[in-house]
């Protein structure tokens, strides 16, 4: 018996898991430095392995690339089918890029059970990459659920005072959605099987199947959508997020905000839109409404948070509202903007969490009122924090603007009032971020403890600079990134439009042209 050749995607997916296994077996737990270096080397190797996915990706080809298809449980129609298109390749790169950053940021923050921490993070990476590359619903679901376990431990073991509550809430909330999604997956599996005679979980096959519009499609859409909406999180399913972020260690927050939330928006894009096109269009107005409410609501609630980490957590609700809005416009601009905004949010919010973590390690508090006047003491930190805040509030020239603007252009082409409502978000983002920045970096030094703060260490510069470089790069030359996505996005829209039934009920005023 000969083994099938191992493809690049399999390497990228399982390299962290293999690394975790090697660390488990080979590195004794008392060698903390070795454990940290081991984790970093594995994650850097994974990133290196994923770079050819990017350089070798044919931007002109809308189909799946680097595809691998192996029979797994042929009796059940389950296959090991992986591949990336212009959308998922960005998210895979985002994952492999952020993981070394997160591990390096935890160098001194995690000093308890370092071995388990490194292993949990690497397993988490394998699960997340798996979610983004799966082209089989069964395989996808396995990764989707498997990734919960290491995240549960990252929050529940290395988190703050109220970590168990937050971890349980995170897992249970996600599981409620997953359970419904599993039912819908099975329903789709049986319906497709009954109609075509082929029982399969293979996503491309299922996508080609035209599901009749109606109650069944709507129910399946709702089940999938609920699972993803909780993950995003879409207002009003967001309350697990502030708890999870506040309790999670910095590295956990970076991955949670940077990658995990994208699994929700990615799910909408990869599953809801192509599998349930009629329902997606019919429910679109409700998604618009929730997204726009989320944009404004998240900003308002952020404004008055006394805790830096909660402020950043609620700002995610606002930012992800933009992404959801963009995706459901089903316009090329909205979708390209939505995809690039997923990456942007990963970088900007990831960087914000990193910097909150850095200041927390110095002062052991995250209360905004404990700071003030930091520019005079730690100008390096303050300057980078300003750049990251500006990126988050969508200043042109930095990454956030590109995504937000494309999303808003797409939204405007659907309905100008909807776009106007969403655009208010750019005002409120300036309010909560600049007010926070003013209270942290400007003014007199009000607390003696702040006078002795040390500026960024070389390790911290090394953690932040790559992220800031990407923030500027995407802002100045976004084409390098959007070009990879465009063909896949156009293909997705064409697919949804060709499958969606022509006649439909009139849309409410805020969603009709």
């Amino acid at each position: 018996m000969s083994l099938p050749p191992i493809g690049l995607l399999t390497v990228v997916t399982f390299l962290p898991a293999v690394g975790a296994l090697l660390i488990l077996l080979l590195v004794p737990r008392r060698h903390e430095e070795a454990l940290r270096w081991g984790g970093l080397v594995v994650s850097l190797a994974t990133f290196a392995a994923s770079v050819p996915l990017w350089t070798g990706f044919d931007a002109g080809d809308a189909d799946m690339q680097f595809e691998e298809l192996l029979r797994w449980m042929p009796g059940l129609g389950v296959g090991y089918h992986v591949g990336v298109d212009g959308i998922s390749v960005l998210l895979v790169l985002l994952t492999t890029f952020l993981m070394p950053v997160a591990l390096a940021s935890a160098w001194h923050a995690i000093e308890d059970r370092t071995k388990e921490f490194v292993i949990a993070m690497l397993l988490l990476e394998a699960g997340m990459v798996g979610v983004f590359v799966s082209l089989d619903l069964f395989l996808f679901f396995v990764f989707w659920e498997a990734m919960l376990i290491p995240m549960y431990f990252v929050i529940g073991v290395w988190g703050g005072a109220n970590r168990v509550y937050a971890a349980v809430k995170f897992v249970l909330y996600t599981m409620v959605g997953s359970a419904l999604m599993l039912v819908a997956i099975l329903a789709l599996y049986y319906q497709h099987g009954a109609a075509t005679g082929t029982y399969t979980f293979d996503l491309p096959t299922l996508t080609r199947y035209v599901l009749a519009p109606g109650l069944a499609q709507n129910l399946m859409f709702v089940a999938f959508a609920l699972a993803f909406a909780i993950k995003v999180p879409l207002f009003p399913f967001h309350t697990w997020l502030p708890d999870a972020h506040v309790e999670a260690p910095t590295a956990g927050s970076v991955i949670l905000a940077g990658v995990l939330l994208k699994m929700g928006t990615y799910g909408f894009l990869r599953f809801c839109l192509p599998l349930f096109p009629d329902a997606s269009v019919d429910f679109g107005p409700w998604v618009y409404a929730l997204a726009v409410i989320g944009i404004v609501y998240g900003a308002f609630v952020s404004t008055v948070q006394p805790d830096l980490k909660k402020l950043v957590a609620y700002s995610s609700v606002s930012h992800l509202g933009f992404v959801m809005l963009g995706l459901f416009t089903l316009t090329p601009q909205g979708l390209v903007g939505g995809v690039i905004q997923m990456v942007n949010h990963g970088l900007s919010t990831g960087a914000l969490f990193l910097m909150v973590g850095m200041i927390y390690e110095r002062r052991h508090t995250r209360l905004i009122s404990e700071f003030g006047g930091l520019w005079a003491v730690i100008p390096g930190f303050s300057a980078l924090l300003l750049i990251v805040c500006l990126s988050s509030l969508g200043l042109p020239g930095l990454n956030g603007f590109v995504g937000e603007f494309l999303i808003l252009v797409g939204t405007f082409s659907v309905n100008k009032w909807l776009a106007a409502a969403a655009t208010t978000g750019i005002i409120f983002a300036a309010v909560y971020l600049l007010w926070m920045y003013q209270r942290v970096a400007f003014g007199e030094i009000r607390h003696e403890a702040n006078r002795r703060l040390a500026d960024l260490t070389p390790r911290e510069w090394a953690v932040l600079v790559p992220v800031v470089v990407l923030i500027v790069w995407i802002g100045v030359y976004p084409k390098a990134f959007t070009a990879k996505t465009e063909a896949s996005v156009l293909a997705l829209i064409a697919q949804v439009e060709s499958k969606a039934a022509v006649a439909r009920a009139p849309l409410p005023w805020w969603a009709s042209r």
Partner: protein, 622 residues
């Protein structure tokens, strides 16, 4: 790659060098920043020579944002209007950079200051070079960022940090409209390129044109501090004075005027939009002038004056007198920069004193500053022969033939301008002194590096009007130069009526100066009587018509209260309460159900039996 790009490239490079190596460079930062500006100015001169004969060209750097049919490039459009703006930005910018060497001499943030100043000139030159609306927007926000950084330059002062934030957020309110306008332009035209959009504007539906133009104007109101978005500019005086001169008087705040003039093809499709521009301009011109009458802070007088003068420029645009608006933009850049730098020289000489009540009789001690600033004041009020005379009277003439009501109000504004300007000059330089003996003893003229820019700007104030602003049958030379870009409406400045108007406005200005003379020079004034809220009207003006108070009560506080309610009550109580309540309900149910699992076989057997009985009974009864 065109050499045009060198104009912004020099200051950008200067900014980056001073940002990264600022700590090493320290006191030598101006050796990076000033040459960068000189190079940029020389580049602007070269470009100006290329557009001298009126032709325009575009040059593309790279493709920026692409998503299917949406495509924007980093492109420069260079035409006579661009040329004029470039010369003003880099020329005045260069003088202010030189001045800053003296003014910021002792500041610990010396290198940071020059880095920001260079960054501003980079952004501002890119703003006027931009060849499409999105690129304009990008650098529109970028100059806003520089403004934010420079207003809050002395960041340890809470008031400075507060003012910087306020400026950014109020500008974002305007940019909300600007952003929507850009989206709408793309939907309507399928492109954001100036050339294509202005060409297509001819066939645009009037309703769409009105919507787009008004949203664009909303952005202009934010950047150029027009009512009701004017509230940030007076507070922006927290920044160092060279910043007030460069950004908050001469260049950045005029970006709104530039934008409306540039997009006149869109505004002309909508009479509603032009009327709104006219009346917002007129109201702002008068409104801000009234507040300037009573201010006691030397910089705040000038700040309200700037708001008011920007109103004149918009009034001109609203009347279709685009070249008059741009001409006033240029002359105002000279004399208002001069006035601000002069004020800075006074502040410098008095070791930070900005209160007019504690000044006086400075003319003998600060001869150059007093002379040049008086020239600036004469330029501002429109003394015959000086720059402001030609530009302001062109606007008044256009108003007279366009709307008598607007003309009357603008004339009243000219009277107030003359009054508050000479009130400032008299109080600072001639009456008094009202400061302590110690301060008076130490008052000194500023070093040459500061006075030479004053002299240069004074010279420009004297010659600029007469050089290019004397009207002939075909308009002024300035208007003829801009005619490829901005249409000239013939026959506005006709014969005898025109002369009468000039005479009338000179009389009004003289009356304003005389009134200031009688109130402040004829008899010595006590410091306590200046700026006292003796009447309701003065109290109203001292509080700037309570607009800030109103915004605080009507917008800021309610929104803050709403946010607190959403965060503490709604989010934690209602939404999370429901989630946790659902969780608790499940636990409670499970606890109840658990009791069924008693472990006694008999219980299970009984339950099974009961179930079987019900099952059988159901089928029998069917």
């Amino acid at each position: 790659m065109s050499t045009v790009w060198l104009i912004p490239a020099f200051p950008l490079a200067g900014a980056l060098v001073n940002m990264v190596f600022g700590r090493v460079i320290g006191r030598s930062a101006h050796w990076i920043a000033v040459p960068a500006l000189v190079a940029s100015f020389l580049g602007s001169c070269v470009v100006f020579a290329r557009v001298w004969s009126g032709q325009a060209f575009t040059t593309t750097l790279f493709t920026w944002i692409v998503a299917a049919d949406f495509e924007t490039t980093v492109v420069a459009l260079v035409d006579p209007l661009t040329g004029v703006m470039l010369l003003v930005v880099t020329g005045v910018g260069m003088l202010i950079h030189v001045y800053s060497i003296g003014y910021m001499h002792d500041d610990p943030g010396y290198a940071r200051f020059f880095a920001y100043l260079n960054l501003f000139v980079f952004s501002m030159t890119m703003l006027v070079l931009a060849g499409n609306f999105l690129l304009l927007y990008v650098f529109w926000e970028a100059v806003g960022l520089c403004s934010y950084l420079l207003i809050g330059f002395w960041y340890t002062r809470d008031s400075a940090a507060q003012a910087g934030k306020k400026a950014f957020i109020v500008n974002r309110v305007g940019d909300f409209g600007f952003g929507l306008a850009i989206m709408w332009i793309w939907i309507a035209f399928g492109t954001l390129d100036y050339v294509a959009v202005f060409k297509g504007a001819e066939t645009l539906a009037p309703a769409t044109a009105t919507g787009i133009a008004l949203l664009l104007f909303m952005g202009a109101c934010g950047k150029s501090a027009q009512v009701p978005l004017h509230v940030w500019l007076p507070d922006a005086m927290e920044g160092p004075t060279p910043v007030s001169a460069l950004i908050h008087a001469a260049t950045m705040v005029t970006a709104g005027v530039y934008m409306v003039a540039r997009s006149h093809a869109l505004f002309e499709r909508s009479t509603v939009a032009l009327d709104v521009v006219l009346w917002v301009g007129v109201i702002t011109a008068v409104f801000a002038a009234t507040i300037g009458l009573v201010q006691t802070d030397i910089k705040r007088v000038l700040a309200y004056s700037t708001v008011s003068q920007l109103g004149y420029m918009f009034a001109a645009l609203g009347l279709g007198a685009y070249t008059a608006g741009i001409f006033h933009l240029v002359t105002h850049a000279f004399f208002k920069a001069l006035l601000f730098l002069g004020a800075g020289s006074v502040i410098h000489g008095l070791h930070g004193e900005q209160d007019l009540r504690k000044m006086g009789a400075l003319a003998p001690r600060m001869r150059v500053t007093a002379m040049t600033m008086t020239i600036g004041a004469l330029g501002l009020v429109g003394f015959p022969g000086l720059a402001g005379f030609f530009s302001k009277d062109e606007i008044l003439a256009a108003a007279f033939f366009g709307s008598r009501a607007a003309w009357a109000l603008l004339l009243a504004g000219a009277f107030m301008t003359a009054f508050y300007t000479f009130r400032l000059i008299f109080l600072a330089f001639f009456t008094g002194p009202r400061m302590s003996k110690d301060v008076a003893h130490h008052a000194h003229e500023s070093p040459r590096v500061m006075t030479w820019p004053l002299i240069a700007l004074a010279a420009l104030t004297v010659v600029a009007g007469a050089a290019v602003g004397i009207p002939s049958e075909h308009g002024t030379p300035f208007a003829r130069f801009l005619s490829p870009v901005l249409p000239v409406h013939e026959g506005e400045h006709g014969g005898a009526a025109g002369v009468m108007l000039l005479v009338l406005s000179v009389i009004v200005v003289a009356a304003g100066i005389l009134l200031a003379w009688f109130m402040y020079m004829a008899a010595p004034v006590k410091a306590e009587t200046i700026g006292q809220p003796r009447t309701v009207l003065v109290r109203l003006l001292l509080n700037a018509w309570y607009v800030d108070w109103l915004y605080d009560r009507a917008i800021v506080r309610p929104l803050y209260a709403l946010s607190v309610f959403l965060a503490r009550v709604f989010d934690l109580g209602v939404i999370d309460g429901l989630v946790n309540g659902l969780g608790r309900a499940v636990v409670w149910w499970s606890a109840g159900l658990r009791r069924l699992q008693t472990g006694y076989v008999v219980n299970y057997a009984l339950t099974m039996l009961a179930g079987a009985v019900i099952f059988v009974a159901y089928f029998l009864a069917r």
